[in-house]
Symmetry: C2
Subunit: 186 residues, 2 copies
Amino acid sequence: MGGSAQPRELTAPRLSANDAAMLIRPAQASDAEGIWRVLQPTLAAGETYALPPDMNREQALAYWTRADESPGEHDVFIAEERDVVLGTYFIRPNQLGGGSHVANCAYMVAPAATGRGIAQAMCEHSLGHARSRGFLAIQFNFVVSTNERAVRLWEHAGFKVVGRVPKAFRHPTSGLVDALVMHQFL
Amino acid sequence: MGGSAQPRELTAPRLSANDAAMLIRPAQASDAEGIWRVLQPTLAAGETYALPPDMNREQALAYWTRADESPGEHDVFIAEERDVVLGTYFIRPNQLGGGSHVANCAYMVAPAATGRGIAQAMCEHSLGHARSRGFLAIQFNFVVSTNERAVRLWEHAGFKVVGRVPKAFRHPTSGLVDALVMHQFL
């Protein structure tokens, strides 16, 4: 894969919000329930991910963790605080073969924990992890354009909009809205 | 899904090249060998699809035909002439949930049969089939920018470039080249 591998940052960033230590670490099988509690409300809302809102626990965890794939291929992390999962992300090659040098990531934060910088911390962690795996870039395939908080966050983190697919997402209240392709070289 | 369903065209277009009847029809299990003979050289060349060039028959057919998915979800067609498979395409929802109204398609033509309008005929067929399934648009996620024949063909068929991902594909001889996101409303 090549690329500029850099040391992977595994220490816990301290969040100013309440000065509690938040740890981002690889997910384990025992984190399944915590991950599901993060995924479920976001999936059910159906406003930000092109996934069935009625995905059940088994389906959602299968999609998110891809336990059938090799470790080092599809990696899942959680952000936790006092043993409570507040967020999770995965990273994987966005394409195979000649496209495998570009990573894809997806992030979710528990609704009760939004606004505390958890998505940003996971994004920074994913950039470091992607570099450590030798990826040359990260691509987001489908950022719902009405998810303005996410778009601002990704742009702040260095991502650029490289594509805009018109009316690609049927938002539950806004109707057909655009989806953005976002990209960052590492 | 909604959308303007139109009658599906199942008659065989006649190609002027040699005035032989070419039929585009749903693939059957017995077409596996013919499909593999179309896929194999294109995969091995590694110039146009972000798939492993060394995919074996089983892996390639699993990817292309997704026999584990429901009929009417992932549909596979072949273009044949005198019982020889000259091309194949699949059509499926590009995303799930709120993104399932947009189709994705992929097409391959046997190297010996290029330049005879088979890709164009399959593309036209796929537009009709996508309408009949109620899709509102077709999106191509990853058109290798150096595949100029394909880009011209898709643009001629009504697709527009809605995104350009820089250096997303490692071409075997041209190095890192861009990938295009192309899109057409139905």
